[in-house]
Symmetry: C3
Subunit: 208 residues, 3 copies
């Protein structure tokens, strides 16, 4: 299997996982089937859509609607399974972290290919990785989770995107840099979850 | 009157009705005149704007600012009438259903003309039909009504969009398919309101 | 210093001020460093980004990432200063009003250069001026402040944008019209804050 084929299927899996988290989240708001599916689709495809709009590319799920079918299929399955079985949300933290790593690195590399300067390219990576979840929380009328103090979500994405760019800059070939970048996002996120590593927060400190 | 002229004026009427619902909704949040007008404009023009961005078309209200004038005029009239007269919101459910049918079918047909594949084209129709109301609810800091369990709103739009595409696929001419699609959206929505038809919901079930 | 150079630096200052208000606002929601920075960046760059998307221009902060660096630098400084020093939010009302004036007039002039018709161009100016703050409030899960009854925010922007267009229409050179437009936005906003001038509101009137 070529590297492109591998990335394509891992990307598709990340779309499915994101659709799943969107549908699960919508369960807290008494949405109906189509409402939940649309929130799932927005979660799965939102980050890449904003990236493509900002780069003036053709939207990825319009060019290849297999992404849309995957998001709908995964959302539909989640809806019916989760109505009968209680699904522990923790089950999806690891697939979600893999999706974050993949979306972030894919988004950064696409931006670099479009000759976006380095800092803007790293932000495109973060946008691709986290905007789906931000849209999900806006549509569910919550403060976006990824902005709240927590276990290095957007932070892990940003450090990974910057690492990828730095590694390419010093001459590491793009494919190796991409794997390293994904490993950094995933590793930071998993370490932060395991050891409850957080960034300093701003705002209402808890009384001590 | 040609079919294009008819559609143009029905579309303009749908813009006016959407601006009206946006302004009425903003009344629950103590917005001022310009705030209410901007929410009305976002409700009226938001769905078509997102569709045009996703298709990389020129934005419809930039090309023909009569849409913008209509949205502002209808919003302004609503603001002043509704401050003195209590307006029963139910009065607008039928114009709103007509607007949903028209926006959805217009959006789907534009996407098909731009060679968007079928499932993505049906989603473009749904986006054109419902995103205005979603923006309105986000700007008013509510969970979008169209996602909540209710009387087949996004669902009616999606079934109508898919029907239009299916009918064109089996050889029905586009104009006839468009009328059939609009009739399906409108009929489903009105039947669902009349008989309280809902989709299965996900999430907090009411105690039985 | 040429007029273009002056405008460039004033624009950069407006980006910094907007990033600052975004970060300060995020303090009410227990966001972490990166969450606060991303809200600051969205506040600073959001309005111009939507304008560029609607006009199908290259996004300004992708073309010149100095804007992004300024937003991040200002956001970072705000985060660390505001954690140790209590910052009276009133301190920023005047820089914020200058930013509103500048963004609105810049947005309107860019839209006119792209041959957008007058009413749509004035809305592009308003969008450039106020959408950053709207995004900030959506991301913080609040009703957008600029829509609420208050001291002529979007209203001042809109009147200034329309004045600029009217002045150019009667033959005033663009640079003079731009300065007049900015003075009108800034003057209206400052007068409204000083004398508590508000527009009529719609909705829950306070009991008298």
């Amino acid at each position: 299997m070529s590297i492109d084929t591998l990335l394509y299927w891992v990307g598709m899996a990340a779309v499915a996982v994101n659709a799943l988290t969107g549908v699960l989240d919508s369960g807290r708001k008494q949405m109906d089937l189509i409402g939940a599916l649309l929130v799932g689709v927005a979660t799965a495809l939102g980050g890449g859509t904003i990236r493509d709009l900002l780069l003036d590319r053709n939207i990825f799920w319009v060019v290849d609607q297999a992404y849309l079918m995957t998001a709908l299929g995964a959302g539909l399955a989640t809806f019916f399974v989760a109505r009968s079985l209680p699904v522990p949300p923790k089950l999806f933290l690891i697939p979600d972290a893999i999706g974050l790593a993949l979306f972030t690195i894919l988004g950064t590399q696409i931006a670099l290919q479009w000759h976006v300067p380095w800092l803007a390219a790293s932000l495109m990576g973060v946008i691709t990785g986290v905007v789906g979840g931000v849209l999900r929380d806006i549509l569910c009328n919550d403060v976006p989770l990824v902005f709240l103090q927590g276990e290095l979500y957007a932070t892990a994405a940003w450090i990974g995107a910057l690492s990828l760019i730095g590694l390419q800059e010093i001459g590491i070939p793009p494919v190796a840099a991409a794997w390293a970048g994904m490993a950094i996002v995933l590793g930071l996120r998993l370490l932060a979850m395991r050891f409850h590593i957080t960034l300093p927060a701003f705002g209402q400190q808890k009384p001590s």
